[in-house]
């Protein structure tokens, strides 16, 4: 199952948990699943149905460019990090 | 606004033009004579991007009035090449990659020419002093100083002295 690493300031939604295993084949599914496990956290990541412009998504060590559309593998590690231009995470 | 008729020799050509007394030589060159090679960086004589030769002396054209050009000889970057052949300095700036954005380049070329016209064998400190009135923010000056030293050596080896620097 893909692992999502929760940014420090969003760990209040996960009760301090940093690494969460979440089922899903795309960033969209991972965020939806996260929201079901930890209500409210998905809204911190989304704006108008896609990843907030102030957040960058790293999949397996590389900054992804497809927002919620990017695919993830069973063993992927996903990080949500502030975008360079000034983020919100 | 009342304008004054001025006659000057610019890059070897006799030119007549009208300008307001409040117009700087830089503004006159750029806006009246459409010689936009000389650049405006500060309008206070601190950056040297507008450097031209006034009767053979390097000056900041932003601190000279257009009307002062009356009867004077002015040389700008547009006059450095002869019949489309680049001067040694121009070529050395290209060979040494002495320009990045290029906005300061015209001023540096004129200041460097002014130096080599007077001192064909400058030391590195002499080059640095002669160019201290020209700011470059891109290069850290390294490749500019090397180009000027190389140009001086090249001109000497050609034995053409001042002529080649022009």
């Amino acid at each position: 199952m893909p692992i999502v690493v929760i940014p420090a300031l969003l760990r209040k939604f996960t009760g301090g948990i940093e690494r969460v295993s979440v089922p899903g084949k795309s960033i969209r599914e991972l965020v939806r699943q996260l929201g079901e496990q930890f209500p409210g956290i998905d809204q911190q990541l989304l704006q108008d149905g896609d990843i907030r412009p102030s957040i960058a998504v790293s999949i397996d060590g590389e900054i992804a460019t497809g927002g919620v559309l990017d695919a993830v593998n069973e063993d992927s590690e996903v990080h949500f990090i502030p975008a360079l231009g000034g983020g919100e995470v | 606004m009342k304008k004054t008729l001025v006659e000057a020799t610019i890059n070897g050509e006799t030119v007549e033009f009208l300008c307001e007394p409040r117009q700087s030589l830089l503004e006159t060159l750029r806006d009246v004579l459409e010689l936009t090679g000389s650049k405006e960086g500060c309008l206070t004589g601190d950056c040297g991007a507008c450097t031209v030769l006034l009767d053979g002396h390097a000056v900041c054209s932003c601190l000279v009035l257009g009307v002062e050009a009356q009867g004077k000889k002015i040389d700008t970057v547009e006059g450095l090449a002869t019949q489309g052949v680049l001067s040694v300095l121009q070529n050395k700036f290209l060979e040494h990659a002495s320009l990045q954005c290029g906005i300061c380049t015209p001023g540096f070329l004129i200041s460097a020419k002014s130096l080599l016209d007077r001192n064909p064998k400058p030391t590195e400190p002499e080059v640095r002093y002669a160019l201290a009135g020209n700011l470059c923010r891109c290069t850290g000056y390294d490749k500019i100083v090397k180009a000027v030293l190389d140009a001086a050596a090249n001109i000497r080896s050609q034995g053409e002295g001042k002529a080649a620097a022009r």
Binding site: V5, A8, L9, P53, S54, S58, E62, T65, I81, P82, A83, L84, G85, G86, G87, E88, V89 | M1, Q23, R30, E34, L35, T36, G37, K39, E40, G41, C42, L43, T44, D46, C47, T76, V77, E78, A81, L86, Q90, F93, L94, E95, A97, L99, Q100, C101, I103, L109, V127, N134, L135, C136, R137, C138, T139, G140, Y141, D142, K143, I144, K146
Partner: protein, 762 residues
Amino acid sequence: MAASTTTDNFKVIGTRPIRHDGVDKVTGRAKYGADYAFPGMLHGKVLRSPHAHANIKSIKIDKALKLPGVKAIVTSKDLPKAENKLEQSGEMVINPMYLSMNILAHDKALYDGHAIAAVAATSPHIAEEALRLIEVEYEVLPPVMTVDVATKPGAPILLKDLRNKEEGDKPTNVAQHYQFKRGDLAAGFKASDYVIEREFNTAMVHQGYIEPHNAVGIYNSDGQATIYCSTQGAFDVRSLSAQVLGMPVGHIKVVPAEIGGGFGGKTTIYLEPLSVLLSKKTGAPVKLVMSRSEVLRASGPTSGSKIKVKMGATKDGKIVAAEIWMAYEAGAFPGSPVGAGAMCIIAPYTVENFVIDAYDVIVNRPKTAAYRAPGATNAAFASETIIDELAEKCGIDPIDFRLKNAVKEGDAQVVGPPFKRIGLIQTLEGIKNSPHYKSKLTGKFRGRGVASGFWFNAGMQSSATVNIHADGTASVVTGSPDIGGSRASMAMITAEVLGLSVTDVRPITADTDSIGHTDVTGGSRVTFATGMAVYEAAKDAERQLIERAAKVWEKKPDEVEFRDGKLHAKGNGVPPMSIKQLAPRLPRTGGPITGRASVNARGVGPGFATTLVDVEVDPDTGKVQILRCTVAQDAGKAIHPSYVEGQMQGGTAQGLGWALNEEYFYDDKGTLRNSGFLDYRMPTCLDLPMIETVVVEEANPGHPLGVRGVGEVSIVPPVAAVANAIYRAVGVRMTETPMSPPKLLKAMLKHRDSTKHSAAAD
């Protein structure tokens, strides 16, 4: 001197051809934004606030309008309402409402120099005179100039509707809080043999490009506008101007002029929408050019900052804990690079336990804009000074200490994900092996300092087309404005792929209608991302050439191959054909060949640099002379080594200026006192030595040619390197920039009082 891990034997890449735009630039022909002129063109000037913080009660323009030659005046009333939300724009995240408020102050002037109104007249002098006739009634408010003042309880609030996630609905000057955490901080400090804690303060500084901002706007009666300007991102000027003007993006064409330096400062807009507004009102082309004073007062500097660093190491030299608090001045609107600074501050080292808190704070200063590795230099000044001190405590050479802790492939970044292939260690070894490091520094009041730095580099979107001409030469068209010689690199990549001579390839930077979307020239991304698009566009052209040759030879494409710049038919004795030979036959084989590619580049390779500096300090005045300087940087692959060195030298020079004399100097009213090149002291030719370079080439696996991008990271280490050199020269740890004579002399006199013996380090 270079250390290379790239093995490909290139023909063009790695050579040093004359740049294609060079002749225009040494003859004065190159057209920069301020060089454009059009028939009937008017000249614009901007009225700017003399107050740092004031309510605007009224603006009366009737007297100014009556001045002969004045054609139009615009104020914020002429701007449509802009949305209050975050949007991605190139490498920036912008809020259209704040952007609009910065273009023309709405109800409040938020810094000395904030634009209030703009005039168009028949001459710049008349426009300037008209400014004196505009009557503005201000209600002056107390200025908020520093992070400390801005965050004090009861501090004056700059933006009434600004909120942050943590303070709920409370008005605030703190726009953003970032936090990065790993491991167990307490345990980390418990395990430390040495702990160093210091507070650092850095002054706001400016990019200092020599060419002032400029724009010529032409608005046509059909609602179509064209903007000519010097910018790092024509597409960003288009989208940002569309936001501010409430125009469809497609109705604006931006023509990027030659640009006289940017360093990040020309990735946003200031004059562009005003030129269009004034053109719309007058029906004539309108040109605006900033004065130097306007550039310094009102265009993007980078943040001043307050940074507290507490770091612990074991006696064998392993950094085991870091607790960091940092606050950056964003200027009058949110968006300092503090987040980036936080992600950079300990990026070069593996630290198991850390907590980094970072705050974006608004103050009555110009809105900050990107500046070469935004946020990283302030951060490295703090961390690299502490690391130098820890190395000393451990009795380990500062370079060896860094090597002990240096990140390598697989180590986790501050933000979590692991690094791919990186070259920090190679830059440290590059310095160790440099003639400079091996030379002995002797003499009183002299010292040698070292520091390292990290920058992410960026990917983002780029487009390129490669056109094969009728004579077999080519042109390569991109949307990346060329500040430092990137056009030459684009031509070199094209020439390399197609086996052409670099002089047979003409590189062009196109306008926003003539090439696919291309993000800013920033984030060190042009040679990486646009270079990737160019590489693929050339490959696309190559594929088509193979198909055409196959047609000519009546073979299948897979029976033809392209090598050494020639097309070869497999098998029996068909003589190979050059592109020049094939080109005349294109019309009869299907017409012209245009190779195309667009990318949203992945595989960004981060950059590292290490800088070595020798200084001499005048013990009686505190004046610092830079005696020698060497910088080692990982370029991935150096396409045009001369311009790679140029980037390294230029970034280093800016860092040295930042270290020694550059600063925004405001008085207690919040008025900028040094808004000119006389007192905003950038290094002159006489202030710098030759800057020696060590180009490390640790190929970036994420790029077809191994490119990382070299534009930024060299500015990161110099400030700390100078501070560390000063310490070794006179025994004083400087924690404030600039390390100018008054500050250093004060510190030295204090130090002499506290220590009997002389401060000389020998």
